[in-house]
């Protein structure tokens, strides 16, 4: 490309105009999480201040956020795992036998408003005495993760040449063992995409956990929200809580940038 200094400067300005608004809320959140209440409510807002750790101490020592973090991890990891167990064979079958209707049936769960299942779940789980249980939460989060697994994996399996399985089957493998032993090991990138996306969506879920969990199984988003509803908002601690909850999803995204992009652009862009 030709180097025109005016153009390069204009482009840098454009970049800054895009990046600064995106990043500013994250930076402000991070800064505020190290501020004292006095620094946070000072007017004009302070950009230079002495960082303190008290907000994180409050979050982790007084509020026991580790407990909620553990809950969030259990619910997300287990629900993603079982969604893969159910979703991978379904996605394979959809790809191999062109089961369009089946794929639409499962994808509808991705599009429908979660609250139209949540009210009946609430009634049934209360009757079954499963409120505030990991089982109820995991089942509800699986309905988030399963359609994502199918959404990402059926086009992926479709793109793997059939000859690979067929060769294995000629060598005496059954189709199901060819799927497990040949196809799945080749599908690492697709599985990483599906896993990362469904983990993030499950980790961030607010509404399901808000209704189905109480003290024992409460997940991070609810803990952060409850923190906010105290009489006087302790902004520093709330920001520390917000940093804590966002950190895992953001770190995952940085590691798996390519896969997250793949998963998010899937469906809208062919190929």
């Amino acid at each position: 490309m030709k180097k025109n200094p005016v153009h390069s400067i204009l482009f840098l300005l454009t970049l800054a105009l895009i990046i600064i608004p995106i990043l500013f809320p994250f930076i402000w959140m991070l800064m505020s999480s190290f501020k004292t209440q006095v620094d946070i409510i000072s007017w004009p807002p302070k950009f230079v201040f002495t960082p303190v750790m008290q907000n994180y101490e409050r979050v982790f020592i007084e509020q026991d956020f580790l407990h909620y973090m553990k809950n969030s991890l259990i619910v997300s990891v287990v629900s993603v795992f079982f969604s893969l167990v159910l979703g991978l064979p379904a996605a394979y079958s959809i790809a191999r036998y062109k089961q369009k209707k089946l794929s639409i049936f499962i994808l509808i769960a991705r599009l429908m408003p979660g609250i139209s299942f949540l009210m009946p779940w609430y009634i049934v789980f209360s009757r079954l005495r499963l409120m505030d249980s990991y089982i109820a939460l995991i089942l509800s989060h699986m309905l988030i993760a399963l359609p994502l697994v199918v959404w990402v994996m059926s086009p992926y399996f479709d793109s793997v040449p059939r000859e690979l399985e067929e060769a294995a089957m000629v060598d005496g493998l059954t189709q199901q063992s060819a799927f497990v032993k040949i196809l799945l090991p080749l599908s690492g990138p697709g599985i990483v995409t599906a896993t990362t996306l469904s983990f993030i969506f499950s980790w961030n879920n607010f509404m399901f956990s808000q209704v189905l969990s109480q003290q024992k199984t409460r997940t991070l988003p609810i803990a952060v929200y409850n923190f906010l509803s105290y009489v006087e908002v302790d902004w520093g601690a709330v920001m520390a809580a917000a940093v804590t909850i966002m950190a895992p999803a953001i770190i995952l995204t940085m590691f798996f940038q390519k896969y997250v992009v793949k998963g998010l652009t899937m469906g809208a862009v062919k190929g």
């Binding site: 490309m1 970049l15 895009i18 990046i19 995106i22 990043l23 809320p25 994250f26 402000w28 959140m29 000072s42 007017w43 807002p45 064979p89 379904a90 079958s93 509808i108 599009l111 429908m112 408003p113 609250i115 139209s116 299942f117 009210m119 009946p120 779940w121 609430y122 009634i123 049934v124 089942l139 509800s140 309905l143 199918v150 059954t174 199901q176 993030i200 980790w203 961030n204 607010f206 509404m207 209704v211 991070l220 988003p221 952060v224 906010l228 709330v238 920001m239 809580a241 917000a242 909850i245 966002m246 999803a249 953001i250 940085m254 940038q257 992009v261 998010l264 652009t265 469906g267 862009v269």
Partner: protein
């Protein structure tokens, strides 16, 4: 020789079976039950058993101003945010559509709002919007502009929430359009060069028309999510001040889990469900139309 036992012969039914059973139990039955409840007047707290009352709950809901306002607000929020996201997202993608150092980093930064926990996002924006300590009113005061109540004022609460949605989801349109741009074939551009087309003609006559399928699909997918927005609104305003920011999802949530009026809540859910279903059918139509 390929072995063909019972399992292999019926693989196409057996492989998806667990997933299908799961979706039937966790989605189809509950949605059916919600439909059934919408014909009852069941209130969980009344202690009365539920009785089927036909369309009575529908009439009650449809004559409830709070519901009609929430319905209007649902569309206002959806169109207000999605139209801006479509235009802005496409413009950003066109601006970023070149090779430069650090493109990967910029793409990662674009992803951050999408993967950030909505509740936490809501909290940060509430700090920005705070009328007395918020940075936005500070900026307004420096610019000698009148300050705003943002989410604490019934007049400005919806635009303020829409701004948060735009901040969070414009990057998604950008990322999708960028991927679409990368996949465009170069032939039309070459012939345009031969024909001596200028930059604007190339943009409006070649690039945008070729991108349209991608943009439209992205926009409708986004609209479906915007119709059911819950996390941001509930965590930032709880539907307030008063009822000024309640959309259908927030209102139905309150009817279900705060007032326990299951019958009427079910009616609202049926409406939300039907609206989302119509949009979803539109996506599938569009995709099929573009595939041909």
């Amino acid at each position: 020789m390929i072995r063909q036992g019972f399992f292999e012969k019926n693989l196409r039914y057996l492989f998806p079976l667990p997933a299908v059973i799961f979706v039937v139990v966790l989605m189809v039955f509950p949605v059916g039950y919600t439909f059934f409840l919408s014909f009852t007047d069941w209130t969980l707290t009344s202690g009365r058993p539920l009785s089927v009352v036909g369309l009575k709950s529908y009439l009650q809901v449809l004559s409830e101003p709070r519901f009609l306002e929430a319905l209007g607000r649902t569309f206002y929020f959806t169109f207000g945010s999605v139209i801006v996201e479509m235009v802005l997202g496409t413009v950003l993608a066109l601006a970023l559509n070149r090779t430069f150092k650090g493109k990967g980093v910029v793409k990662t930064l674009l992803l951050l709002p999408l993967v950030a926990t909505p509740v936490a996002i809501g909290i940060v924006w509430n700090l920005f919007y705070d009328p007395t300590i918020g940075i936005l009113n500070y900026v307004l005061s420096v610019l000698k502009l009148p300050q705003s109540g943002w989410v604490s004022d019934a007049k400005t609460v919806m635009p303020s929430l829409i701004i948060v949605d735009i901040w969070q989801w414009t990057p998604m349109i950008t990322i999708i359009v960028l991927a679409g741009l990368a996949g465009l074939s170069s032939e039309p551009y070459e012939s345009a060069m031969v024909d001596g087309a200028n930059g604007r003609q190339v943009l409006f006559l070649i690039t945008l028309p070729m991108l349209m399928p991608t943009i439209l699909t992205a926009v409708i997918l986004r609209a479906i999510d915007a119709l059911k927005t819950y996390d941001i609104i509930y965590s930032m305003t709880g539907g307030g001040p008063g009822y000024a920011s309640e959309n259908l999802n927030v209102l139905a949530f309150k009817y279900s889990f705060e007032y326990f009026r299951m019958g009427q809540s079910a009616v609202m859910l049926v409406f939300l469900f039907l609206i989302v279903l119509l949009f979803s059918l539109a996506v599938m139509r569009l995709r099929r139309a573009f595939e041909q």
